[in-house]
C-alpha cells in the first residue's frame, strides 16, 4: 500500500503537519480577529449562543454568556449572524470591534436550515406540513465522496442509500420511507436548481450548497408523479464574496478491499479426496506440505486477497465566485482520477459548472450549466468470480504474465480450462465507456405587480454514453482454451426537456397571509440507443466488426415520452402560527390510452406552531419551539415504459433467411387498459426545540398505501405469456421516524454535537392479485412479495423438516430431501435503521464521525453457494471431508395406526457426504445454508480537520483560508455472527439483501484533503 503513496499525499501530510505547528503560534493575534457583542434590539441585553459566521467561509463561532464573540476575520468581511428566535442579519465588518443588534422573530428554527425550496420558491420550514431535512455542503462532503448520494448515507432519517458493488464507478439504490412500488422505482425525485433530473450521480458534491430532503409525497404536486417517493431539492452554489473568491480543494484517498468471504485452506485441488493437478475444485486431499505439481502448500493468509490491489482516488476542485450587487457568478472545475481495487480498473472524471444570476431592470435571469465527462475502463466480474473458486494453493503471482507462452498462467498451460486465469480475464475482457452529461437551466423571473410574479424555467438534462466492450481473441490447440474475440459498440443518448411556467402571488389580508402558485409544465424524454457487435473477430488485437466471421449483431431503439401538467398550490397562514396548504395537479401522459391518460391528484397539509400561538410556553418553560404538522396526499403515477400497450413482434432464430421472414410475439402480455397507480400517504409529526435550542428533536409517523400497481407480473407460461402487465397489488407502509440532535458541550471554543436518527419501517404487502388468487410474487431470485408479509421477503429453499424443525432424512441413505415450499426467513430490507453523527470542535480542529446501523433484515449470498460447490467454503471442511450424520436430523417411523413419528437420527450417515456430489446437491442446492441476518453497525466516516488560524494564514500571505484534514471511510463493521458472506449493505439488480455471485467485496478508504481559499 505504501508504495502507492503519491507526491500529492506526501504534500498533504506535510501540509497537515505544518498546520499543526503553525496553529500553536496562532492564538491571540487581535488585528486578525473580529470581536464584537450581539445585543437584542428589544431590550438591549446581550444574546448568548448566537452563531457568528464569516460569510462564504467555514469559520463559525458562538457568542458567550455575555453575548461576546471573537472570530478570525478582517475588515471588509461580511458577517452572518443568526440564532433561533431572531432574524438573521448580515453585517459588513467596518472595524475590529462590532456591535450588532438582532431582532426577535417568529422564525424559531435554526436558520442554517431555513431554506426549503420547492420550484425555487423559498419557504420557512414552519409553513411546511411534512418532514424536511437540510444537508449542507460541509456535512455532505465529509469523506470526500464523488457522488452526492454517498454523502447522504446514514444522515437522514427515512433515507436509505445502498451501494451496488465496489467498481470504480458504483451504482446506488436509494429509497425514501420504504417501498411503495413492488417492482418499480422507489427512489426519490432529484431536483437540481428547480429542474427535475433523472440522476445526480454526476453532480459534483462540492458544487452543492444544500440538499433539502422533502420526505413526504407533497413534492409530487409541484414536480409530478416522481415526487411520490419524496424529493431531494438540490441548490447549487450561486456565487459569493464581493472581492471574488477562489477556492481549491484537493483530496486523495487510498482504498483497500475488506470483508472477503472466508475460505478454507485445509484441502487442496482434486476430487473425492484425491489430489488432481488439473482440477480447479478444492475437493482433493488435505494439505500435507508435500510439493506436488502445481503447489501443494496453502499460502499464508487468503490467496484471494492478493488479486486485489490498492485503489486510489484523487480529486482536485477549483472554483471561482463573485457577487456584485444582486448579480452573481460561480464557476467550478473538477478533475477526478480513480484507480480501482481490481487491477487495471480505472476511471476519470472532468467537469465544469457555471452558474450566473443577472438582473436587467426588474427582470432576473439565472442560468446554470454543468458538463461532466467520465471515462471508465474496467474488466467485468470474471476475475473475482474465478478467484473465489480457486484452491488455496493457487500460485496467483505466477499467473500475472500469462502472455509469456511458458507462463503457468497462459491458457495453453493453465491447470484447468473450466475456470480461467483471473489475470487472463483482466487483460482480455475490457469494458470502456465515455459518458457526457450536460445539465442546465435558464430561468427568467419578472414581477408583474408588487404581489404577482411570473417565471419561466427551461431545463435540460442530457446524457450521452458511448460504450465499447471487447474480448481479445485467443487461439489454442488445447480444447477449451481458445477464446473468441468480440466487440460491441454502443451509444445511448438520453435527453430530457422540462419547462415550467409559474405564476406566484403573495398577499396579506389582515392576519391572513396567502401564497399561491399556478403552473404549467411540459416534459419530454427521448432516448436513442444503438449497438453493433461481432462475436467472432478474426484478429486478436483488432476490435472492429468488419473483421469478423459470422453474424453482425445489434440494433437500435428510440423511445419518446411526453407529458404535460397543470398544477396549483395555495398556502394560507394565520398570524404566523397556523398554516394550511392545498395542492392539486393534473397530468396527461403519452404513455396510456387516451381514455386513461389524464389523472388528477390532490394534497393538503397543515402546520401549527404552538410556541408562536402561545408565547407564554416559550417564556415559562425550557421549550423554545414546538410545531405540530400533518399532511395527506394522493399521488398518481404511471410506472410504464413507452409503447407498452400493444403486443409487439420481432424476428428471432436467425430470421430473416433470405426473403423468408419469421416474426414471434413478445412473451409479455400487454394491457391496453392499464391505468395510473395511486399512492395515498398520511403524515403527522412534532418538532421540538428546548434548553435554549441545545436540543432539537423531531418525531413523525408516516403511513402510505399504494394500490393498483402497474407491474409486469410473472404469469403462468400456460397463459401463452411469461409476464403480464397488470394493475394489481397493494403495499402499505407504517413508519416511525425519530431524530434528535444537540450540543452536548457548547462553549465558544469547544463544542460537541451529536445527531441521531432512527427509522422503523413496517412495509407490508396487503394484497397481490385479489382475494382467492395467488399470494406471492417472485421479484428476483429469492426475493418475494408475499401477501400479509413484510416487503420484500426472503424465501429460501430448505430441507423437509418435522414440526420441531429437525431435518428429516432417509432411513437408509441418511440423505435429506427438499421441502415442497421454500421457507420464509424475513425481510430483505432492515426495518430498523439508525444513524449517528458526532462532531467535536475545538478552536480550529474538528473531529467528525458517523455511524450507520441497520437491524432486522436478512441477506443471502450466492458467492457462498459457488464456494461450497467448488469446495473452497469453510463449511465444506467442518466434518473433515468424511461422511457424517446430519446434525439434528430425524428419521420417519411409521406407526401401526398409520401415523408417522420422527426419531432422532444418531447413526445413519448421509451417503456420500464426504464428497462434492453431496455438497453440491444437498448443501449448495439449499439456499437456507447461505442466508443470514444482515444486521450491522458500520463506522462510515471518520475525519479530522484543521482550519488554520488567521494569524498563521497571514504569515503564508497568499491564502485567505486553509483547511486540511485526514479522513477514512468504512473503518469497521460489526456484522451478525452468522454472516461471513460479505457486506450486508450491498445489493444486486435492485434487490436489497441479495449478494450476487458477481459481487466484488467492499473496500475501505483512508485519505487526506486540503481546502485552500485565495
Amino acid at each position: 500500500m505504501y508504495r502507492l503513496f503519491s507526491k500529492t499525499i506526501f504534500l498533504s501530510v506535510l501540509a497537515f503537519a505544518a498546520g499543526m505547528i503553525l496553529s500553536a503560534t496562532a492564538s491571540g493575534q487581535a488585528d486578525l480577529s473580529l470581536t464584537g457583542v450581539v445585543l437584542s434590539e428589544e431590550d438591549g441585553k446581550p444574546v448568548s449562543y448566537v452563531t457568528v459566521n464569516i460569510k462564504g467561509t467555514n469559520r463559525h463561532t458562538m457568542t458567550d454568556d455575555n453575548g461576546r464573540f471573537v472570530i478570525p476575520g478582517t475588515i471588509g468581511d461580511t458577517i452572518f449572524i443568526s440564532s433561533l428566535g431572531y432574524n438573521p442579519v448580515l453585517v459588513a465588518a467596518d472595524n475590529h470591534n462590532l456591535n450588532v443588534k438582532i431582532k426577535p422573530s417568529s422564525f424559531v428554527l435554526d436558520e442554517l436550515k431555513v431554506v426549503a425550496t420547492a420550484l425555487g420558491i423559498k419557504r420557512a420550514p414552519k409553513e411546511l406540513g411534512s418532514s424536511t431535512e437540510v444537508i449542507r455542503e460541509d456535512e455532505l462532503t465529509q469523506g470526500s465522496p464523488l457522488n452526492p448520494l454517498t454523502g447522504l448515507t446514514g444522515k437522514v432519517a427515512g433515507l436509505r442509500v445502498n451501494m451496488y458493488d465496489s467498481k470504480v464507478d458504483p451504482n446506488f439504490q436509494i429509497t425514501m420511507r420504504g417501498s411503495r412500488s413492488i417492482t418499480g422505482n422507489n427512489s426519490p425525485l432529484y431536483v437540481v436548481d428547480g429542474v427535475p433530473v433523472p440522476d445526480i450521480s454526476r453532480l459534483n458534491p462540492g458544487d452543492i450548497e444544500s440538499i433539502t430532503i422533502l420526505k413526504g409525497a407533497n413534492a409530487a404536486a409541484l414536480y409530478g408523479s416522481e415526487g411520490v417517493n419524496g424529493a431531494l431539492i438540490i441548490v447549487t452554489k450561486s456565487g459569493e464574496g464581493s472581492n471574488g473568491r477562489v477556492s481549491f480543494r484537493q483530496s486523495t484517498s487510498l482504498s483497500e478491499v475488506y470483508l472477503l468471504p472466508t475460505a478454507q485452506n485445509m484441502f487442496g485441488q482434486g476430487v473425492d479426496g484425491v489430489y488432481s493437478p488439473t482440477e480447479y475444485q478444492s475437493w482433493g486431499a488435505a494439505f500435507d506440505g508435500t510439493i506436488k505439481k502445481v503447489n501443494s502448500s496453502a499460502g499464508k493468509g487468503d490467496v484471494r486477497r492478493n488479486l486485489f490491489t490498492t485503489g486510489m482516488n484523487i480529486q482536485n476542485d477549483l472554483s471561482f465566485s463573485k457577487e456584485t450587487g444582486d448579480d452573481r457568478y460561480y464557476l467550478s472545475l473538477q478533475n477526478v482520477t480513480v484507480k480501482g481495487i481490481i487491477p487495471k480498473d480505472r476511471s476519470s472524471r472532468n467537469g465544469a459548472r457555471f452558474n450566473t444570476v443577472q438582473n436587467i431592470g426588474k427582470l432576473r435571469i439565472s442560468s446554470a450549466i454543468s458538463y461532466n465527462h467520465i471515462n471508465t475502463n474496467t474488466t467485468p466480474d470474471g476475475p473475482w468470480v474465478s478467484m473465489y473458486k480457486m484452491p488455496a494453493n493457487f500460485p496467483l503471482q505466477e499467473m500475472v504474465n500469462w502472455r509469456d507462452p511458458s507462463s503457468q498462467g497462459n491458457p495453453n498451460n493453465f491447470f484447468t480450462t473450466v475456470v480461467k486465469n483471473p489475470y487472463f480475464l483482466i487483460d482480455t475482457y475490457r469494458n470502456e465507456s465515455i459518458q457526457q452529461v450536460v445539465n442546465g437551466k435558464v430561468e427568467a423571473e419578472y414581477p408583474i405587480t408588487s404581489w404577482l410574479k411570473a417565471m419561466y424555467r427551461l431545463g435540460l438534462y442530457s446524457n450521452s454514453l458511448q460504450t465499447r466492450n471487447t474480448v481479445e481473441r485467443f487461439d489454442s490447440e488445447r480444447a477449451g482454451a481458445s477464446q473468441q474475440g468480440s466487440v460491441t459498440d454502443g451509444t445511448s443518448n438520453f435527453r430530457r426537456l422540462n419547462g415550467d411556467l409559474i405564476l406566484s402571488a403573495e398577499r396579506e389580508f389582515g392576519k391572513v397571509k396567502l401564497n399561491a402558485i399556478a403552473g404549467h409544465n411540459f416534459r419530454e424524454e427521448m432516448t436513442k440507443t444503438t449497438n453493433i457487435g461481432a462475436s467472432n473477430l478474426l484478429f486478436p488485437n483488432l476490435f472492429n466488426q468488419g473483421s469478423r466471421s459470422g453474424n453482425l449483431t445489434g440494433g437500435s431503439a428510440m423511445l419518446t415520452e411526453r407529458q404535460y401538467s397543470i398544477y396549483a398550490e395555495v398556502t394560507a397562514g394565520y398570524s404566523g402560527y397556523l398554516f394550511l396548504t392545498l395542492t392539486g395537479r393534473r397530468d396527461k401522459t403519452s404513455l396510456l390510452h387516451p381514455d386513461n391518460s389524464s389523472y388528477f391528484y390532490p394534497g393538503a397539509s397543515a402546520s401549527f406552531i404552538i410556541t408562536d400561538a402561545f408565547p407564554a410556553i416559550r417564556e415559562n418553560s425550557v421549550t423554545d419551539y414546538l410545531k405540530l404538522y400533518t399532511s395527506y396526499n394522493k399521488t398518481g403515477n404511471v410506472n410504464l415504459s413507452p409503447y407498452s400497450l400493444n403486443l409487439t413482434y420481432s424476428q428471432a432464430g436467425g430470421f430473416p433467411y433470405g426473403d423468408i421472414t419469421g416474426f414471434i410475439p413478445s412473451s409479455k402480455n400487454p394491457n391496453p387498459d392499464i391505468r395510473p397507480e395511486f399512492v395515498r400517504s398520511f403524515e403527522a409529526g412534532v418538532q421540538w426545540s428546548l434548553l435554549k435550542r441545545r436540543l432539537n428533536a423531531e418525531l413523525a409517523y408516516v403511513y402510505s398505501n399504494s394500490q393498483g400497481q402497474i407491474f409486469a407480473s410473472t404469469s403462468s407460461a400456460a397463459t401463452g405469456y411469461t409476464t403480464s402487465v397488470v394493475n394489481l397489488g397493494e403495499l402499505e407502509n407504517n413508519i416511525i421516524e425519530f431524530s434528535v440532535d444537540g450540543d452536548i458541550v457548547r462553549s465558544r471554543e469547544f463544542r460537541i454535537n451529536a445527531a441521531f436518527s432512527y427509522t422503523y419501517i413496517n412495509n407490508v404487502v396487503k394484497d397481490l392479485y385479489g382475494s382467492g388468487e395467488a399470494e406471492e410474487y417472485n421479484i428476483f431470485r429469492q426475493s418475494y412479495a408475499i401477501k400479509g408479509m413484510p416487503y420484500p421477503s426472503l424465501k429460501v429453499t430448505d430441507y423437509k423438516r418435522d414440526d420441531q424443525g429437525r431435518i428429516i432424512v432417509d432411513a437408509l441413505t441418511g440423505l435429506p430431501s427438499a421441502s415442497t415450499e421454500p421457507t420464509y426467513k424475513g425481510t430483505m430490507v432492515p426495518p430498523h435503521q439508525m444513524g449517528l453523527q458526532a462532531t467535536i470542535r475545538y478552536k480550529g480542529v474538528s473531529l467528525y464521525a458517523d455511524f450507520d446501523c441497520r437491524l432486522g433484515g436478512w441477506m443471502y449470498s450466492e458467492v457462498a453457494n459457488a464456494m461450497i460447490q467448488s469446495g473452497t467454503h469453510p463449511m465444506t471442511t467442518q466434518y473433515g471431508r468424511k461422511e457424517f450424520v446430519i446434525p439434528n436430523s430425524v428419521i420417519a417411523v411409521s406407526n401401526p395406526d398409520g401415523s408417522v413419528t420422527y426419531q432422532p437420527n444418531t447413526s445413519v450417515v448421509a451417503k456420500g457426504s464426504g464428497n462434492s456430489a453431496y455438497w453440491n446437491k444437498y448443501v449448495a442446492g439449499y439456499s437456507v445454508n447461505y442466508a443470514a441476518p444482515g444486521d450491522y453497525l458500520k463506522m462510515r466516516t471518520l475525519s479530522v480537520k484543521y482550519t488554520l488560524s488567521r494569524a498563521a494564514i497571514a504569515k503564508l500571505k497568499i491564502f485567505k483560508e486553509v483547511t486540511i484534514g485526514a479522513e477514512a471511510t468504512n473503518l469497521f463493521i460489526i456484522r451478525h455472527r452468522d454472516n461471513d458472506f460479505g457486506d450486508p449493505e450491498y445489493l444486486y439488480n435492485n434487490t436489497a439483501g441479495y449478494y450476487s455471485w458477481r459481487q466484488v467485496p467492499p473496500y475501505r478508504t483512508v485519505g487526506f484533503t486540503a481546502n485552500i481559499v485565495f
Binding site: Q484, E561, Y564, S590, S667, S716, A774, T797
Partner: protein, 505 residues
Amino acid sequence: MKISTSYFAIIVIALLSVSCEKYLDINKDPNNPVEEYISVEQRLPAAIYHTSLQEVTQLNQLGSFWGGYWGTSTEGSNTYKKEQLYNGPAIMAKRDGIPIWENGYTYLNYYELLRIDAEGEGAPAYKAIAMVMQAWHYMRLVDTYGDIPFTQALQGQKYPRPVYDNGADVYKSSIDMLSTAVELLGRSPLPSEKRPGKDDILFNGDLSKWIKFANTIKLRALMRGSEVNSSSYIQSEISKILTAPSVSTTASVFLTETAQVQPGFNATNLNPFWSTYYRNSSNKTTNGYIHIRPTQFAIDSYKLLSDPRLSRLYAKTKSGEYKGVIFGYEGSDAEYNKDNTSPLLGPSENGGKAAAILKSQTQPIILLSAAESWFLLAEAAHRGWISGDAAEYYRNGISASMQQMEVSSSERDTYLSRPDVVYNNTLERIILQKWLALNSISGFEAWSDYRRVGLPEIPNTPGASPDERPRRLLYPETEVQTNIAEVTKRDVSDITTARVWWDKE
C-alpha cells in the same frame, strides 16, 4: 394591468392545452411491428423453426441423457450434473433449470396466434398446420410433465391461472385436433385462400405431406397409450386414419420420408444442432462437443451387432478405438477425459464427408425421421393394430436409418441379413433397432420408449438405486409461483417416482 395579466395567463394555458392531444399522440412503437403488420406467412416460419429448435436441442438433449445415448466427459460432468444426478429441483429451477414448460407454451402461443390470424385472413391451411403443431407441443408437454393446462391454456389474462387437464385427456384432445386438421388439409381450397408456399419450411407448402405428418404424429400418440389404453379406442382411431379417402396402402397414409426443417441455414446462421454440439460459425469446437460423449452402452450396442453405423456416428480416440463414458459417473478418471473418449463424428474428422449426424453446417433439422415412422408402423403391425408386414416395416426402418447415417446399401444388406438383426417377432428387437436409429436424432423418443416399455435395458446412473429412473419433470418453479393451487393438487415431489399417464408401473 392586473386583469390583462390574468387573461394572458389563461390564454397561454389554454393554447398549450389545445395542442396537447397531438403532442401526446406518440405512443406507437417506432421500433417493433405490432399485430396489424404481421400476417400468417410471417408467423409460420418462426413458429416451425422454434418447434424444431426445441426438439433438436432441449428435448433431444434431455432424452439423449435419459434415453441411454449420452454421458459426459469428465470436463463436462459439472455442466450436466442435474441431468446426471436426476436432480429434479435443479431442473425445475427458473434459473439454470430446463424450461421445457415455458418454451413449450411460448411456442404453443405462436401457433395459437397463427391459428387466430389464419381464421381472420381466411387461410384454413395455416389454421390446420397450427393445430397439427399445437397437438405436437401439447403431447410433448404431457410426456414431460403429466397433467397440464389445455382447455384454459393460451388465453392470456382470461385465465391467469389455467387449471390442469388430465394428461390422458390432453392426449385425446390433441388426437382430435389432429383429426380436425387432417380434414381441413384434405378439403379442396377456395381460389381466394392463402396457402403456404416456401414459408412452410417443413414441407414447402405440400399439404399432402402435412396430412401424412399429422397421421404419423397420431400414430405415435396412440402408441404412447399402448400399455394403458383400451385397444378398442386405439383401433377406432387407427381405423379413422385408414378410412380416409385415397388410401392405397397402409403405409401410404403415413409419412415415410424424414420431416426436416430448412429455413435456409447458411454460413452465419447455422443448424442449431451443429452450432451447439459441434462447431460455431468460426469453425471452433463448442463446449457441447467437448463435454458430451456417447455412453459405453451405446458403443457396445452397435459393436455387438457389428453395426456399420458405429463408424459413421463416432470418431475414434487417439488410441484408435471407440470409447464411451458411463452416464452419471462422477469420478475424474483420465480414461473418461474428452481426449480419451469418442466424440460425434463430423466432416472435419471424416475427410470432409458427411457423417451420420453431422453432415454440414447448413443441414436441415430433423423433426421426425423416416426411420421412426417405419418403426412405429412395425410396432403397430406387431401389436396387430394395422395390417401389413411388421418385418417389412422393420426392415424399412433400418434401411431408412442406414441411409440417414451414410451407410452404403451393401453394408446395409449384410447387416439386415444378420440373424441377430432379422425381425424375430419380438418387441425387444423393434425397440432396439428404433433405439439404434434415433441416436442423437430423437433422444426424447428413446427416453419415452424406455418409460413406456422399459426397452432397451439402458444402464442407470451409478449413484441411483435400480428402480430410480427419471420418469417426468417436476412442475417448473415459474408454475409454483404463479399457479400453486394446481401444482399442489398434483403433489409431485420426486421425478423418479411420479409417472405420466401412459407410463405404467
